[in-house]
C-alpha cells in the first residue's frame, strides 16, 4: 500500500525528472544545431560524428569520414564558443535564482550587489588607458574585472552590514548606490574616449567572440563549485521564502545561509562577467520564466535555472554571431531584445490563466 505522501512525493519527483530530462534533451539538440550554424556549413551528421569521435570509449568506433577542416572549425572555433555560452548562461541563471531566493525581490539579479558595474569599471579603466594586454596578456581584463567586481561587492556588504546581520532592504539599496556610482565612472570614461568604435561600450554589452578553450577552463570550476553549493542550499532557500524570522524559528541559520548563498552566487556571476562582459537580463528573466513553468521549489529551480540560462545564452549567442554576419551583434543586446518580449508574453498568459482558474 502506498500512502498519500509517497504518491505525492513520487508525482513531484516525476515532474522534476520530466522537466530535467526535457531540458537536457533540448540542450543537446540545441548544441548540435548551434554548432551547425555559421559562415561555413557543417552537416548535422558530421557534427554528431565529430563530437562522438572525441568522446572516450565511444570515439574509437567512429570512422573519420569528414573533411579535416570542418573538424578544425568545429573543435577550435565553434565548440569552445558554444561551451562558453553554456557556462556563462548557466552561471548567470543559477546565480539569478539564488539572488532572488535570498533577497526575495522579483527585481533581484546577479548584478544587484554591484558586481557588474564593479567589473565594468575595472575593464573600462584598462581600455581607456590602453592597458588591455599589459601585465597578463589576454588575461589582463578578466583578472582585473574579477578583482574590481569583488571589491565592489565587499564595499556593498560593508555598507549594508549591521551587527553582523545583512538586512535585505539596506543590502539592495547599497547595491543600487554602488551601481549608479560606478556606472557614472564608466559613462565618464566612455564619453572621454576618442576611439571611433567604443571598445568600453562593447565590453559592457558582453560578447563571447574570441574566447577559446582556456576561458572555458577558468569558468568551469566556478560554475560547478557554485552549482553544488547552491543545490545544497536549495531547501534553505525554500524556507527563506516564508520570511527570515519564520525560517529562523524553524531551525535555519538565516544569516549564515544568506552570507554563503550571496557570496557563492556573486562569485559565480563575477567569474562569468569578467570573461564575457555584462550580459543582461539572463539572471533576471530565466529564473522567473522557470518559476512560471515548473513552480517555485528551489530544489528544482536552482538546477533548472542553470540549464535554462545555458540554453538561453547559447541561442542568443548563435543569433548574435549569425544574424548580421560577419558583423557581430553585442550579446547583451540580443539577450535583452529577445528576453523582454518573451517574458511579457508569459506574464500575460499567466495572468489570463489565473483569471480563468
Amino acid at each position: 500500500m502506498t500512502t498519500f505522501t509517497q504518491q505525492h512525493a513520487r508525482i513531484k519527483k516525476h515532474r522534476g525528472i520530466g522537466a530535467g530530462a526535457a531540458g537536457i534533451s533540448l540542450l543537446l539538440l540545441s548544441i548540435v544545431i548551434c554548432l551547425a550554424v555559421g559562415s561555413v556549413d557543417l552537416p548535422l551528421g558530421d557534427i554528431v560524428r565529430i563530437l562522438l569521435h572525441h568522446l572516450p570509449w565511444v570515439g574509437e568506433y567512429i570512422p573519420v569520414t569528414w573533411d579535416p577542416s570542418s573538424a578544425q572549425i568545429m573543435i577550435h572555433v565553434r565548440l569552445p564558443r558554444v561551451i562558453m555560452a553554456l557556462l556563462v548562461g548557466g552561471a548567470l541563471g543559477v546565480s539569478g535564482a539564488a539572488f532572488q531566493g535570498v533577497l526575495r525581490n522579483p527585481l533581484a539579479d546577479p548584478y544587484t550587489l554591484g558586481i557588474s558595474s564593479g567589473a565594468s569599471v575595472g575593464a573600462a579603466l584598462l581600455i581607456y588607458f590602453g592597458l588591455q594586454y599589459a601585465f597578463l596578456g589576454q588575461w589582463t581584463i578578466p583578472v582585473t574585472a574579477f578583482v574590481t567586481a569583488v571589491m565592489a561587492l565587499f564595499v556593498v556588504l560593508r555598507m549594508a552590514r549591521e551587527n553582523g546581520k545583512l538586512p535585505i532592504q539596506t543590502l539592495i539599496l547599497s547595491g543600487v548606490v554602488m551601481q549608479s556610482f560606478l556606472g557614472a565612472i564608466v559613462s565618464f570614461l566612455v564619453a572621454m574616449s576618442q576611439d571611433g568604435i567604443n571598445e568600453i561600450l562593447f565590453w559592457t554589452m558582453g560578447s563571447l567572440a574570441m574566447r577559446g578553450w582556456s576561458y572555458a577552463g577558468i569558468l568551469l570550476p566556478y560554475f560547478v563549485g557554485g552549482l553544488i553549493v547552491l543545490i545544497a542550499y536549495s531547501r534553505s532557500l525554500n524556507m527563506l521564502a516564508l520570511g527570515e524570522r519564520q525560517a529562523a524559528h524553524m531551525g535555519l541559520h538565516v544569516e549564515r545561509t544568506k552570507w554563503i548563498v550571496l557570496l557563492t552566487a556573486t562569485f559565480v556571476a563575477a567569474a562569468a562577467v569578467s570573461v564575457a562582459g555584462v550580459i543582461g537580463f539572463v539572471g533576471l528573466v530565466v529564473p522567473h520564466l522557470l518559476r512560471l513553468i515548473i513552480g517555485a521549489d528551489y530544489r528544482f529551480l536552482i538546477p533548472m535555472s542553470a540549464l535554462g540560462g545555458a540554453l538561453y545564452v547559447l541561442w542568443a549567442d548563435t543569433i548574435a554571431r549569425t544574424l548580421l554576419a560577419p558583423t557581430e551583434i553585442p550579446l547583451g543586446v540580443v539577450t535583452s531584445f529577445l528576453g523582454a518580449p518573451f517574458f511579457a508574453f508569459l506574464l500575460i498568459r499567466n495572468k489570463r490563466k489565473s483569471q480563468e482558474g
Partner: protein, 288 residues
C-alpha cells in the same frame, strides 16, 4: 454531542484548579531590554511550567511582542537571561531549539507558490539531515496533522489561493509538524473571524491537553484569554503589572489602571471564568 463534550471540557478545566503544576521549563530571569531611560522591558521575571497555558496581555506598546521575541531567541535581551529546561537559551543549537520550541507569528504565511502540503512538510526541517532526509518517514505523521486540521482537501492548493483563515490553519499545521513541547503564539487570532478564532483556540487547547504541550501566547482579545489561559500575566509599560488566574487578573481595577478603559466584569454563565463588558465613556459617567 460535540458541543456537549467541549462544554464538559470547560467544566472540568474550571473545576480542576489549582491544577497540579509541572516543573518550570521556560523562565525569564531579570530581563531588561533597551538602553534608554524608558526601556521596552524592565526587570521581567517569569516562570512557565510544563503543560500550562500562559496568556500575556497588556496595552499596545507594553512590550508583549518584545518579550515573546526574547523568549523565542529572535532578539537578545540587553541584560538578563532566558532558560529553557535549565539551560540558557543561547546555548542551544538552532535546530535543537526548533525541536523543542515553535513560534507562530501574527503575520501568517506569505502568499507563496508552494502547495499546502509542501509548507506543512517544511515544519520537519529541524529533524532533517542537510540532504533533507529523516531517520523515520514522517509521511504518516504529516497525514495525521492534515486530517486533524481538515487540510486534506487543500493539500495541493497553492498558499496564495487560500483565505486568511485557511492560511493560518496551514501555519498551525506546520507548527504541529515541528512537534515542539512548547509553543509561543503572538496574537495568532488577530486576522481571523470569530469562527476561525474559536476553532484555532480549540485546536490549541486539545493539543495542549493531549500532549502536555506548554503554550505561551500574547492575546489581544481578553475574553478569549480569560476562557483559555490557565494563567495570565499583565504587562504594562515594560513591567509585569501582575500575574495569576484569569479571575485574579481580569478585574475592573486592572482595566482602569492598565488599559484606561471602564469595564464591567461578569462571570461566564456556563464556565467559571470572568468575561469583560465594555462601557463607553459617556454611558459610564451618566451611570456613575
Amino acid at each position: 454531542m460535540r458541543e456537549q463534550n467541549s462544554m464538559n471540557h470547560f467544566a472540568q478545566m474550571a473545576d480542576a484548579r489549582p491544577a497540579p503544576l509541572g516543573e518550570v521549563i521556560l523562565s525569564a530571569q531579570a530581563i531588561t531590554h533597551g538602553y534608554s531611560k524608558l526601556p521596552v522591558l524592565q526587570d521581567i521575571s517569569l516562570e512557565i511550567r510544563k503543560g500550562e497555558w500562559l496568556g500575556i496581555i497588556g496595552p499596545n506598546g507594553s512590550g508583549k511582542s518584545t518579550l515573546l521575541s526574547i523568549l523565542s531567541r529572535a532578539e537578545q535581551p540587553t541584560s538578563g537571561e532566558v532558560q529553557l529546561y535549565g539551560r540558557p537559551l543561547g546555548a542551544y543549537k538552532r535546530k535543537e531549539l526548533s525541536r523543542l520550541m515553535a513560534v507562530l507569528q501574527q503575520e501568517t504565511i506569505p502568499p507563496l507558490h508552494y502547495s499546502v502540503r509542501e509548507v506543512v512538510e517544511m515544519g520537519r526541517f529541524p529533524y532533517q539531515s542537510w540532504w533533507g532526509t529523516e531517520n523515520e518517514d514522517s509521511g504518516p505523521f504529516i497525514d495525521h496533522i492534515m486530517e486533524r486540521l481538515q487540510l486534506e482537501q487543500l493539500a495541493d492548493r497553492r498558499i496564495d489561493r487560500l483565505s486568511g483563515g485557511q492560511r493560518q490553519r496551514v501555519a498551525l499545521a506546520k507548527l504541529m509538524a515541528q512537534s515542539p513541547s512548547i509553543i509561543l503564539l503572538d496574537e495568532p487570532t488577530t486576522y481571523l473571524d470569530i469562527h476561525y478564532q474559536m476553532q484555532f483556540m480549540d485546536i490549541i487547547r486539545d493539543w495542549q491537553q493531549e500532549c502536555g504541550l506548554t503554550v505561551v501566547s500574547v492575546l489581544h482579545d481578553l475574553n478569549l484569554a480569560a476562557l483559555y489561559c490557565d494563567r495570565i500575566a499583565v504587562l504594562n509599560e515594560g513591567i509585569i503589572h501582575g500575574q495569576g488566574s484569569a479571575a485574579e487578573m481580569i478585574t475592573r481595577e486592572c482595566f482602569e489602571q492598565v488599559f484606561h478603559v471602564h469595564a464591567e466584569i461578569v462571570s461566564h454563565p456556563k464556565v467559571n471564568r470572568p468575561q469583560v463588558l465594555l462601557c463607553p465613556e459617556e454611558l459610564y459617567t451618566s451611570v456613575e
